[in-house]
């Protein structure tokens, strides 16, 4: 009995850690959707860009040029990933989303345009970094933390800590700063917010930058635990969408809960059904969710879309 309990707790811990990574990616999607009602299909490729930025910062720049030791170098690389993500977000916002918004595009065109951006980013990185997987060693991945019968790596502890900090910071920003309030106002009603003197274009650009910065950091956290190739992030995008839908489009709390839930379900699927069935289970859940409760876990009172 205690063995079973240990197993359940251990898998839940694994699931939460995985879920935190998903939340970091899905939150950005949901933020952009909430404010813009549009999907950024290249979002998960920002994760890959973040991972490569972190990789080169940690292994080439920080340790070689600055002589910073392992752990410090890796922590520093989180910030370079954040910067890379933010920069990319700004670029895509200015080059793709803003012109499409000005021309009054429907929901389809931004989706297709960002699919193009996704293909461009993936193959651009393929040309730069090659198809051979990179070995991104985080010094924390080698550490094992033991709590009674439960084991987890230092990396997973860091993932949970950074995700929690990022979510807390995002919440504080949304609640307490003027820009955060402006962002929520634009999300609720773009036109009215504009009439109240809020510069909606700035707010939308800011949202995309924040979302992309989150994706970049997620990449730095993800890099050391997966095989790092130009297509690492691409494998995440569909699952991130599933999470956004399960949580309810544009709903932050729902997305966080759904992300953790999907992580935990995935951990138990690996334990009891085998890793080959992960996607089947997650997407069966998505379809079931769309049949039973299309508004997501936490329903918002919005009459459109469903």
């Amino acid at each position: 009995m205690t063995d079973l309990l240990t197993l359940v707790v251990q898998q839940s811990v694994n699931g939460v850690y995985l879920g935190c990574l998903y939340v970091m990616v899905a939150l950005g999607l949901t933020l952009i959707y909430g404010v813009l009602n549009q999907i950024n299909f290249a979002h998960a490729d920002f994760v890959t860009v973040g991972a490569f930025a972190a990789f080169f910062t940690a292994t080439r720049f920080a340790t070689k040029a600055l002589g910073i030791p392992d752990t410090g170098a890796y922590l520093l690389s989180l910030f370079s990933a954040l910067g890379a993500g933010a920069l990319l977000g700004w670029l895509v916002s200015a080059a793709v989303f803003a012109p499409l918004r000005r021309s009054g595009a429907d929901e389809l065109r931004p989706l297709i345009a960002t699919i193009g951006v996704s293909v461009l980013l993936e193959n651009g990185q393929l040309a730069l970094f090659g198809p051979i997987p990179y070995q991104f060693d985080s010094p924390l991945a080698r550490e094992t933390i033991r709590l009674g019968p439960i084991f987890f790596s230092g990396q997973s502890a860091l993932v949970v800590a950074v995700s929690a900090a990022a979510i807390a910071a995002l919440y504080a920003f949304m609640r307490f700063t003027f820009l955060g309030k402006a962002l929520r106002a634009v999300a609720q009603d773009r036109e009215t917010a504009g009439l109240m003197g809020i510069n909606e274009n700035l707010v939308i650009a800011l949202t995309i930058v924040i979302a992309s910065a989150l994706a970049g950091v997620a990449g730095a956290l993800l890099g050391p635990v997966v095989v790092l190739t130009p297509f690492t992030g691409a494998s995440l995008i569909v699952k991130a969408f599933a999470i956004v839908i399960i949580g309810g489009f544009g709903n932050m709390e729902g997305t966080i809960i759904a992300g953790l839930l999907v992580g935990i379900i995935e951990a138990f699927t690996v334990q009891y059904l085998g890793s080959g069935l992960i996607d089947l289970v997650v997407f069966a859940m998505l379809l079931a969710m769309l049949v039973v409760r299309p508004t997501g876990l936490i329903a918002e009172r919005k009459e459109e879309n469903v």
Binding site: Y33, I39, V96, P99, L100, S103, A105, E107, L108, R109, L111, I112, A113, T114, I115, G116, V117, S118, V119, L120, L121, E122, N123, G124, L126, A127, V238, F241, A242, V244, I245, F249, G276, L277, D279, L280, F283, A284, L286, L287, L290, V291, P294, N305, V306
Partner: protein, 296 residues
């Protein structure tokens, strides 16, 4: 004129490689036509068309290889199978709109792909099915066959969208609530378009395995859905000729860019983004406006 060009195509491109591309092109035209019916004429954002393509390919191949069916009988069964799966998905998916339908259909495509990988006793999983013969002896004949079918489907759909049914579908696309207030049963017509689109994609799938010779799940990943969507958008969604042009351009563009080596797909991605940004109605609309300007 264009028919003549199509008929002459295999004699203009004489190498085996380019003739293969021609077959692929005809298949892509079929796929783009199928998606355009759903997306362009009924306004349903469907990202799962690759699943129906895959169902058509697998059902026909398994019936032929494992059960010894005649090709045409198996083809008919495959078309019906993908059509019915499409109808089944539509039965609940037509309640969803916009991005919700997009993700639901995408989820369906992922599930289908995973079933193809995991149901090894039937599909042979990632190992794939080998040694599949085309229904006709050579590439040129296969091209004429698929191109002929694509032309027939084009005529069928062209008549359909000009008929009152086409008006109904367009009415649903423009404003579902208004259409419903005029007595249109939107759910049924949306399901009809979805199912017919699925069946046509299944029809394209019937010819794919014989053309390639092998069948693996990777050919029906979600990226296939995006490629089809790109064809429809780049050509001109909601017009009949647009998706055909899109399919031809996007089949040949990557081949012509082969000289750029690794940069090929980068340019492809960039081109897709630029077309969406600067040619909102696709090539067809851009062409029309150019002609409009040059003629006083």
């Amino acid at each position: 004129m264009s028919l003549l060009l199509v008929a002459a195509a295999p004699w203009l491109l004489t190498t085996g490689y380019w003739r293969g591309i021609l077959v692929l092109c005809a298949m892509n035209v079929l796929l783009a036509l199928s998606l355009n019916l759903v997306m362009g004429y009924t306004g349903q954002l469907n990202l799962g068309q690759s699943a129906f393509f895959g169902i058509g390919a697998y059902v026909s191949t398994i019936l032929i290889k494992s059960h010894g069916w005649n090709f045409w009988l198996a083809a008919l069964a495959a078309i019906l199978a993908s059509g019915f799966v499409g109808l089944a998905l539509a039965a609940f998916a037509t309640r969803l709109k916009g991005h919700y339908l997009a993700i639901a259909s995408l989820g369906f495509a992922v599930i289908t792909y995973q079933v193809l990988i995991n149901w090894e006793s039937v599909t042979q999983g990632v190992r794939g099915i080998y040694g599949i013969l085309p229904p006709v002896p050579n590439t040129v004949a296969l091209f004429y066959l698929v191109a002929g079918i694509a032309a027939a489907v084009y005529l069928l759909l062209d008549n359909l969208v000009r008929s009152p049914v086409g008006d109904t579908l367009r009415a649903i696309r423009e404003d579902e609530i208004s259409a419903a207030s005029l007595g249109v049963n939107a759910a049924i017509w949306k399901a009809f378009a979805f199912g017919l689109g699925a069946a046509i994609a299944g029809l394209a799938g019937v010819f794919y395995p014989g053309f390639v010779g092998t069948l693996v799940p990777d050919a029906f990943g979600i990226i296939e859905s995006f490629t089809m969507m790109a064809m429809v958008i780049v050509g001109g969604m909601g017009t009949m000729i647009g998706p055909v042009i899109g399919a031809v351009v996007l089949t040949f563009l990557p081949e012509l860019l082969r000289g750029f080596g690794e940069l090929r797909l980068m340019i492809y991605g960039l081109a897709l983004t630029l077309v969406v940004l600067f040619m909102p109605g696709g090539i067809v609309q851009a062409w029309m406006s150019v002609r409009h300007k040059t003629r006083p």
